[in-house]
Symmetry: C2
Subunit: 694 residues, 2 copies
Amino acid sequence: MAGVNGVEEALRQELAAKQAAVDQQADAVRELKSRSGVSPAEVDAAVEALKALKVEHGGLIKQLQAAVGSSADGGVSKEEFRQAVVNTLERRLFYTPSFKIYGGVAGLYDYGPNGCAIKTNVLSFWRQHFVLEENMLEVDCPCVTPEVVLQASGHVDKFTDLMVKDEKTGTCHRADHLLKDFCKEKLEKDLTLPPEKVAELKHVIAVLDDLSSEELGAKIKEYGITAPDTKNSLSDPYPFNLMFETSIGPTGLLHGYMRPETAQGIFVNFRDLYYYNGNKLPFAAAQIGQAFRNEISPRQGLLRVREFTLAEVEHFVDPQDKSHPKFSEVAQLEFLMFPKEDQLTGQSAKIMALGKAVSQGTVNNETLGYFIGRVFLFLTQLGIHKDRLRFRQHLPNEMAHYAADCWDAEIECSFGWIECVGIADRSAYDLRAHTEKSGINLVAHEKFSEPREVEKLVITPSKKELGLAFKANQKMVVQALEAMKEAEALEMKAALESKGEVEFQVCTLGKAVTINKNMVSVNIEKKKEHQREFTPSVIEPSFGIGRIIYCLYEHSFYTRSSKTENEQLNVFSFSPLVAPKKCTVLPLVKNDAFDGVAKTISRSLTRAGISNIIDITGTSIGKRYARTDEIGVPFAVTVDSTTSVTVRERDSRQQIRVNLDEVSSLVKDLTDGLTTWADVMWKYPAHTATSAED
Amino acid sequence: MAGVNGVEEALRQELAAKQAAVDQQADAVRELKSRSGVSPAEVDAAVEALKALKVEHGGLIKQLQAAVGSSADGGVSKEEFRQAVVNTLERRLFYTPSFKIYGGVAGLYDYGPNGCAIKTNVLSFWRQHFVLEENMLEVDCPCVTPEVVLQASGHVDKFTDLMVKDEKTGTCHRADHLLKDFCKEKLEKDLTLPPEKVAELKHVIAVLDDLSSEELGAKIKEYGITAPDTKNSLSDPYPFNLMFETSIGPTGLLHGYMRPETAQGIFVNFRDLYYYNGNKLPFAAAQIGQAFRNEISPRQGLLRVREFTLAEVEHFVDPQDKSHPKFSEVAQLEFLMFPKEDQLTGQSAKIMALGKAVSQGTVNNETLGYFIGRVFLFLTQLGIHKDRLRFRQHLPNEMAHYAADCWDAEIECSFGWIECVGIADRSAYDLRAHTEKSGINLVAHEKFSEPREVEKLVITPSKKELGLAFKANQKMVVQALEAMKEAEALEMKAALESKGEVEFQVCTLGKAVTINKNMVSVNIEKKKEHQREFTPSVIEPSFGIGRIIYCLYEHSFYTRSSKTENEQLNVFSFSPLVAPKKCTVLPLVKNDAFDGVAKTISRSLTRAGISNIIDITGTSIGKRYARTDEIGVPFAVTVDSTTSVTVRERDSRQQIRVNLDEVSSLVKDLTDGLTTWADVMWKYPAHTATSAED
């Protein structure tokens, strides 16, 4: 980042210098023109020089705009790309704003047929890749959650964003977003800012998450930030809890919330799950389900929504042993990692081997490392490009105080690098919090193969002697003696042995009393222990399914020219694993015989569990291919005879000829990954489409 | 039902007569004993006769109790059976009360690992059986729903239950439940009720759903019903809306609810989905998701809960053509049907052929019939017993006024016949309601292959003449003329032709005016129409997934004696389709070689997508079989050598011997339904377990 900042800073300085040169030359031209007796050639030359300076000045502006990431080339094309993706997604019903006929609700979206099929495929792969592969205990808990659970987890107190209100209209805004927007716009639009101001604005953006309510309010006042659209003045920032509130049952007395994450449902079940697992660690529980966040002002489309599907794993492990038996299976993986040191020293993410990252301590432990590796495999197997996927470690100021280490899988899309999976070592925080609140001990035990001998401090007050000495105060003295910490007790023991008596402060009495050696005995005794009790650590990979799917859309989208017509065609290059339909069946031309064959093929594909569509509309075959490419169907079966058909692969647009009775099992093998297109091209005769066909 | 009622009535009469005989004989005994000079033999004989009468009296009580379905044999065993099922389900974490460590919340349950796996299997079969097979458009809409949507659907006004409050503690109860409980208990416990009273109580139970708030309140007062547990007096009944309320966004101004059903999300998307389907009918949309009902006082365990998974289909069809192209595929099915006529005339459900039920008009139309057939196939393929599944038609008083016909798939379990799937023809109600509320026209069009000539009434007021005659009132007269219905206009036309003028009432003027034949022309004109516009009908099969799963548990549960020990073992006879795990892998005895083989087999099963557990605890093989039978795992692979293993089928407990390299694909074929256990028994050598093994 220092690199980028350096470029930007140099450009800003150069621009300022160039601006000065332009101003100076403009003065010179004016002076020449006002002076009499100057030859027109001389004036022309000065004007040309001014023009040249202005061209250079314009060039610098463009460079600087590109460097700060606004408009111009980079910016506009990102916007345009996103618009093309989103248009296709909405038009082909991958998703639509919810309740559209009533004007919609910000932050709520429907998955239409294509989006819904992709979501089902992604979740089913998630189950195969995590739950089944690791024999996780999958659970399914309600969204409606009583307040006590979310008090214990800290959400009732702390799950807030700072909000400001338009003082006239009452419209609410996120305070940090307004401040960030202001700073970014200033940096992008005002290219003549003095360097101190540039540095200041950048600093504000960097520390945004750490600003208190008062600091945010002060900055908003200082910069004179007003409400977007109305330009009215804004209230002071105040915290707004992001949970949807409700009340459970008819009395209105049991307060509840729609869960903001699925994890708590697992934590409160720890005792049962641990028992179910034969009282053995480690084990993992998993849950897929809806979660809810009542965002103040949702934006960024599918990336910031008020209701979303989470898939979470809670892996419970002995804090003294976070090794993982299958770590060696992922240790060789290499991918973009962005440790906190590199972020703080302004470097960029670089490719590292996971095994090395763990062995050198960059990643805290093997179990955390194992899940980072599994997440990498999951995302790339879905179709996320590995050069636009990085694992970024949380900086100390981002990380919850209890977390031991935390990495986000960030995927780059047109909105920037987006956190899609969080992989955190939450230590014992959650189980301890619920133990404290519920009074139910959420702990694990390690049984020793042989009992271990431990030394234990034993304090034995003599109630008789103390009673004689302190009468009614005896009980408080006994309690104070029993409550002594080891060091204090050993000190007393030594003092009693050497001096026979000692002064002892009893807080509950508010004074010191004299204890003699008949009143108490302090001894170190050897005891046998058969097990140790501890609160397990939790390693939590948490997947924002909607965000992953949106990024997958951007990574899969491309356009290509039509072979026959002068237009750009949209294609989603989904793998068969995620594609909403695996195959389209189309008669080459509309006639009853071909339609019949197409229906038979479609039916046999359905019986084999291959989702497919049949397109017997009269449209040209080229248009119908474009239509199926646009929703990312990987294969098309074209019926051009009643004995054999062609199979077409979406991205290469290559076709082969296959006998009717083989086509269904061939498509099944292709979509199940049992054979590849390259193999198929080798085995079956190629079919050359006429230009009208594609 | 009349049959059953007849038996019960006869028994009540017989019991009353027997009671009288007992009383009479007791008097006789007393009289004999008090009289002097009676021989002891005579007294003894009279006492014996009294005893015999008491025995007969006791027998009648038992018969009557059985007839009214309370306690005694039938009753208690149902309770005991349920308790055995529920104990197993909770102990083996099929489900548990949610938030148990905080005391739980009534009506909220978690699916544990076994229950969650079964739910996933049921939903995935549902998708295969409905969505994929019928090419339905599956969508996924949010749970959070703005108020306007549920105002249009009628839920804000009408989705209520009547509630009474304990006047001292404030505890809430469902008014109809209290009244029903009172009547049932009276009928079951008080066996000496006079026949009029019996008839009255039964009538109250029958019309419970039709009672108004006032009628319910009056009955509660009349019977002196008090609060359960406290016996405090109760408030008057008042309606309580069953939706969980919340507010969307930070201002608190946008009121919302957690959806009570998933259907509305589909209705509001009708326009997009119809367009997506190429503007063609019929088509179906489907949705699986959470729904929420804030029940007043949930009971019956998993059957009445506050949050549950619904799977709903909305099939849109032209109201003029409700035929179904695939109806012939289900027409031959025969199963228990319970049409409304049979219910009203006191008959019981009987087996009918679906084709006949549709052709004779018992089921309103083919599309409704088709879905009834598909639901039957779905439920029985899951493992619901077909003799404990019936399709019951709604009685006129149960059905929404707009519905054309409605059938519930009811499954019999220990709680009685439980509605698990509703299959309703909702006509055009929902689309019309949202059209009206949103102003967006949710309609379909039928394009005519050739334009059709239709006669249309054309009313043409002469604005000039009317202006001259009525000045400022002209506009209102014009509007009134244009608004005439066909009959009125034709009457005016005739009157104008015969009399030249006519008196015409203009409501907006509040008086009649005189219209002459220059002021308006009324004509029937022929016009060509190219399409017709209409609101589609909706056929809705709606599945309560949790209820289906609970009934499946009861239908699958049985106990059998242990072969070696004197105890009852629990078994769930789940098919491989629904079983939470498909296979258990167990070394016969604990040793490293067998453990290694077991792990290899488990791994290759996982790779093949077969969920499995490996049990290498040192417990006896018999105990381990019992453990896997109890969660319904259909197959067990037992490692008793390093070259071949045995495969055991859960219900028959038969075992075969298979080579190590074949076992994984054999288990896959068995669980995928590609081969049957009978085939396998034929092909592979049987293995005879020693008694210690099973």
